[in-house]
């Protein structure tokens, strides 16, 4: 329980920094921190393998890509523009509404866990891998096609510039 509250009080401000900081580099670093916190949440939820993949893929790869793009554009902090203030208010309103709605649904009773103690190897590499390479084999193979398409698409787009 203590762990959860610590995580919650670190994650929410970090997530707000991502969204509200004017300097995109700070946003990206705050996102790295948020993702790391989420990884710790995964450990608390006994998803050990996923927790490490979270750090390797998100923090180690995706965020590096984003930082690269920020540097490539040499971005400067954006100035708040006055004509958008009504839009901002709307944005806050809609987001708050969404948050309330989701929070209400999430806080409803979801029924007790079917068993107090789960299988001993829950969340271990073996259990996740067995599931991934048997039941979810088709999505796994399709993933490679998705990655291929993303790679080719990104290369085509990026090369057209030069």
């Amino acid at each position: 329980m203590t762990l959860f509250w610590i995580l919650a009080f670190l994650t929410v401000p970090a997530a707000l920094t991502v969204v509200l900081h004017r300097n995109p580099v700070y946003s990206a670093l705050a996102l790295v921190f948020t993702l790391f916190q989420v990884a710790i949440m995964f450990v608390a939820l006994e998803a050990y393998l996923i927790a490490f993949l979270q750090v390797i893929i998100y923090a180690g790869a995706i965020l590096v890509l984003i930082l690269f793009a920020i540097m490539l554009l040499s971005l400067e902090p954006e100035e708040p523009s006055p004509e958008r203030s009504t839009m901002r208010a709307w944005g806050w309103g809609v987001a708050a509404l969404l948050m309330l709605e989701l929070g209400a649904v999430a806080s409803m009773e979801h029924g007790a866990s079917p068993a107090q103690a789960g299988p001993k190897d829950f969340g271990s590499v073996t259990s996740v891998a067995t599931e991934l390479f048997s039941t979810h084999l088709l999505p796994f193979e399709l993933t490679s096609i998705l990655l291929l398409v993303a790679l080719v698409g990104a290369v085509v787009l990026a090369r057209r510039r030069s």
Partner: protein
């Protein structure tokens, strides 16, 4: 784990809302992409929390695929941003309002 799964679900809902806020109020396309990442992560937390509650690793396997989708989305999204920056010298979402170049 003595924390009820609802706590994690509410936290995920808050994270998702913050991500949605970023998409709505920010104009920097890269920050919008980061906000989308935040929302995807909130969904991942939900998946893992439910997997823990049901003692089923299916939820964890799905997170794999969500991560892959996130990576593909960012790679292509940023390529589009770079390309549009080269053409129009802006990454302001309000000014990138044409679907053609």
């Amino acid at each position: 784990m003595d924390t009820p799964v609802e706590y994690y679900l509410v936290l995920a809902a808050i994270l998702f809302g913050i991500g949605a806020l970023g998409v709505l109020i920010r104009r920097n396309v890269i920050v919008i992409l980061m906000s989308i990442e935040l929302m995807l992560n909130a969904v991942n937390v939900t998946f893992v929390a439910f997997a823990r509650q049901q003692w089923s690793v299916d939820g964890q396997v799905i997170v794999f695929f969500v991560m892959t989708v996130a990576a593909a989305e960012v790679a292509v999204g940023l390529a589009i941003v770079l390309m549009s920056f080269a053409q129009r010298k802006t990454i302001n979402a309000d000014e990138i309002n044409l679907l053609r170049w």
